[in-house]
Symmetry: none
Subunit: 157 residues, 2 copies
């Protein structure tokens, strides 16, 4: 713990969903979240993939700030954005063993089984079913590898 929090969520780690629908948030993630608000995490269903997205209060706060600066309300585009961020998210409290209870419909929509995988992406993190994530990981790694190769090429000739 230290300046770590500013760097956001990083790394990939495994966890487990117990029969009560609880998951233990990885300790490093909890430290990031704790720096934003105590015992709180926002979780929503990802829009494009069978996974969940978690983030801290800071993201919500930033959105609200932007909201008050610009058009307050009454624009359809904005409402859609607000819906995506606020309506689809649930504010979950982290108990003192570091776990949260995931709503059943979230578990269903992300197709989670007992083994889950946490994926750090800076200001947000993802929760996947471990089996399902395996191939996604392959694909993403391949894409990253291609990008890295492309850079090698660009530099050399």
């Amino acid at each position: 713990m230290g300046v770590l929090e500013s760097a956001g969520f990083t790394g990939i780690s495994g966890g487990s969903l117990d029969r009560k629908g609880r998951v233990c948030i990885p300790a490093p993630y909890r430290h990031v979240l704790a720096a934003q608000s105590p015992n709180l995490v926002y979780v929503r269903q990802a829009l494009l993939t069978p996974s969940l997205e978690g983030f801290g209060a800071q993201v919500v706060q930033k959105f609200l700030d932007a909201q008050s600066e610009n058009d307050p309300f009454f624009t359809a585009a904005h409402d859609t954005e607000a819906f995506a961020l606020l309506s689809l998210s649930q504010e979950l409290t982290i108990d003192d063993t570091g776990r949260v209870r995931l709503p059943d419909d979230f578990i269903a929509s992300a197709r989670l089984n007992e083994a889950v995988t946490f994926v750090g992406l800076g200001r947000k993190f993802e929760i996947w079913d471990s089996t399902g994530f395996a191939e996604v990981r392959e694909a993403r790694t391949a894409a990253a590898r291609e990008q890295a190769k492309a850079r090698e090429q660009a530099r050399k000739p």
Copy 2:
């Protein structure tokens, strides 16, 4: 210690991975890292070679700043990059004897044995299995030699 830190990671040095999966980061590297954030190093699996890459908080911070300015938080724009940099990296804390615990999957993917080699490359450094690095070193030296020759040619036609 001096102005050296600003020059980034330099040189090649050996180290050892103990039975607990710990490595001692070479002191010169630690000094570079300390200038960016205290007791922190980011390590990731290299994309194109069986090795690990280490770097300081500055690299990550720079990426996150860019991310939050454009606010592409929930867009897929930088996803590949974010995955490569943030997901594949682990934030490791350096204990007060200068060591970090490398995750087992990192050790496996870089095929590390007891003897490891640190390779300074400016803003990042690499961690190789010493035996595996031997031939890579050959190849790189040869490539560097070729490049040097090519430049000679270009200058004196």
